[in-house]
């Protein structure tokens, strides 16, 4: 297929198919490095911290958190939305970029999807733990019971239950269906019997038959078609949690697309953070190239700018509405007691990503890494600003309060970070971090070797 000379190769180093297989699968063989052990130890400690915080919350109650009569949601829901947002990149990359035929997605979709699944797990933890009566949490499911009670289908929180679980389930099967051929590759290259048996089981009997491939592609495509609106719907429904309310700063119609955009924004930032480390650690620089990083940075500018426009729109409308509560809520955001959080959010989310307009910065691994962390921080603060500053001063000044997290809340957050990194570190040990078959599929059209032959 003809490719314009302007296009840069997506896979460097003049690879052939065998090399691709070896490069991607090699980290799975052999012993983990000491960095890996250090990482998983740190993550494990964080996880223990989270376990302790979970115990305190469940046993003693939500009073262990810094919430009060006015502020019913604090770090818990902030973290929930943050994690869900992060959990948007993977499916976005594999579904929407697939539909848009962006070939660069092939090198990163596998780990981005894994990251998505783990992030959604971390996210799902918070709505559970934030319940005052976690042990009765099953009330949320519409199951037949002796009281003939169902659930409230009007509640966005209930929609969340359906959205998050559907999202997790569909993302999981999407990820796994994509993984099956690669698991076949792992199986066929397994040295030990146990590995062969395990991967044989996991690979579901994959043979690489043309018929399988044909249906596999159809399934991938339709799943992408389903996952694309799904990924939009999830953060849309998360945004409904806030937007359906009457609370100034929460109730605003722009939330659905703006949340989705913010989610992709933060998701890409997290993918960048992880990938920049992973490509270095696993020697995958030929697969996750500067072009990949640049492409992701472009998505970051796009979504970051959309988020920025949404911030400004909200701010303008708060004034334009002529509604005193709205106007005050936004004035309070920018100049009230939590103004610092607002300006951190503004700086990290609106200003820093604009640096990516410069090609030099876009292609600088170090700067990208730093900015991606900034975006992660900024997006956390965005949720914090939305959740806390809207609640802490709403309609009746008599009830205005302040909120400060406790060590238990910090513990829960750190705990999910621990869970996230633990699972991610395990993932890179047991699964191929790059979609081998998909990369091979674009190797000819987008690999370096093709370029060379073309220009000869």
């Amino acid at each position: 297929m003809y490719t314009s000379p302007l296009r840069e190769p997506l896979i460097r180093g003049n690879k052939n198919y065998k090399q691709v297989t070896d490069d991607v699968l090699s980290p799975m063989a052999g012993k983990p490095s000491k960095y890996w052990y250090a990482g998983i130890t740190l993550a494990g400690i964080a996880l223990l911290f989270g376990g302790w915080a979970t115990f305190r919350t469940v046993f003693y109650g939500i009073g262990e958190w810094g919430l009060n009569k006015t502020i019913g949601w604090g770090w818990g829901i902030t973290n929930f939305v943050w994690w869900v947002g992060i959990g948007h990149a993977g499916t976005f990359i594999s579904a929407i970029l697939l539909l848009f035929r962006q070939k660069w997605r092939t090198s990163i979709n596998r780990s981005a999807e894994a990251m998505t699944l783990i992030a959604v797990m971390c996210a799902g933890f918070f709505p559970l733990i934030h319940m005052g009566r976690l042990l009765l949490g099953f009330y949320i499911f519409p199951y037949p019971n002796t009281r003939s009670l169902w659930v409230n289908f009007n509640s966005p929180l209930l929609w969340d239950v359906f959205a998050i679980s559907t999202y997790f389930a569909v993302s999981l099967i999407f990820w796994y269906v994509g993984l099956i051929p690669d698991l076949g590759t792992v199986r066929d290259r397994a040295k030990t019997k146990i590995r062969k048996a395990i991967y044989g089981f996991l690979s579901f009997g994959w043979t690489g038959s043309a018929r399988h491939w044909s249906r596999h592609e159809t399934v991938s495509l339709i799943l992408a078609g389903l996952a694309a609106p799904l990924v939009l719907s999830v953060h849309t429904i998360v945004s409904f949690d806030f937007a359906t309310s009457v609370i100034p700063g929460w109730h605003t119609t722009i939330f659905p697309p703006y949340f989705v955009s913010g989610a992709i924004f933060s998701g890409f930032a997290m993918v960048l953070t992880l990938m920049i480390v992973t490509r270095k650690a696993l020697n995958l620089e030929d697969y996750i190239t500067l072009n990949h990083i640049e492409s992701m940075n472009k998505v970051i500018i796009l979504t970051g700018s959309i988020v920025g426009i949404a911030y400004l729109t909200e701010f303008f409308m708060a004034w334009y509405s002529g509604v005193e509560f709205e106007t005050y809520a936004f004035f309070n955001r920018a100049f009230g007691p939590y103004a610092w959080a607002y300006w951190i959010m503004m700086t990290c989310n609106v200003i820093t990503p604009q640096l990516f307009w410069f090609r030099k910065i876009r292609r600088s691994v170090l700067l990208t890494f730093i900015i991606s962390i900034f975006v992660n921080i900024g997006m956390w603060f965005e949720r914090f600003v939305i959740v806390v500053t809207s609640l802490h001063r709403d309609f009746l000044p008599s009830s205005w309060t302040m909120y400060k997290p406790t060590v238990v809340e910090v513990g829960l957050y750190v705990g999910t970070l621990g869970l996230f990194f633990t699972l991610f570190l395990l993932f890179i040990r047991v699964f191929p971090v790059i979609a081998v078959a998909e990369v091979k599929g674009v190797l000819k059209s987008s690999g370096e070797q093709k370029k060379i032959t073309d220009h000869e």
Binding site: K18, T21, S148, L158, V170, F204, G205, T218, L223, L226
Partner: protein, 172 residues
């Protein structure tokens, strides 16, 4: 007793060329095993477009109907409750869950159909003709019937060789 003749290519472009030649000779190719999807193989093998999309569509319709219908039934028939003064038949409120169930049903039905139609699954056993299929080899499988004589087999092997295939082997 089925017998197969397998031969492999090292490059998908050679494979496609070879398949073209074999097809021209009227050789019936049972299957082609590749490490990644090679476009054009489906045409060479005269494969039909997959009907998995229909499964997805039907399941999606079922999911949507079920999702919307269940909510409507609960709120209007089974146990109508005044919640915030909202109408019992609160269509906008039913949309999110109905949508999620549509996607859930469609996705799962299709993936299940995919596994079933491909006979893939946790317990499925793979017939591994060559372990390098999943790495860098493009394998062509030609089925040889019970009644086929050695001559025919030779002929097939020759045709394969002419089409540039390597490692031609007869498997039982």
């Amino acid at each position: 007793m089925n017998r197969y003749i397998t031969a492999y290519y090292l490059d998908e472009e050679d494979l496609l060329k070879g398949l073209g030649q074999l097809k021209a000779k009227g050789l019936e190719i049972m299957d082609v095993l590749t490490p990644f999807p090679v476009h054009g193989v489906d045409k060479a093998l005269n494969m039909r477009r997959s009907r998995l999309t229909r499964v997805a569509f039907i399941a999606g319709v079922v999911g949507a109907t079920l999702g919307f219908g269940f909510q409507a039934w609960v709120f209007t028939v089974d146990y109508p409750i005044n919640i915030g003064g909202k109408p019992f038949f609160a269509v906008p409120s039913f949309m999110p869950v109905a949508f999620e169930l549509t996607v859930l049903f469609a996705a799962f039905a299709m993936v299940i159909a995919f596994f079933v139609s491909n006979k893939l699954g946790p317990a499925a056993k793979a017939v591994i003709h060559d372990e390098r299929i999943t790495d860098d080899r493009f394998l062509v499988v030609v089925k040889v019937g019970d009644g086929e004589g050695e001559e025919n087999i030779k002929e097939i092997e020759l045709a394969l060789a002419e089409a540039g295939a390597e490692g031609i082997t007869l498997k039982v």
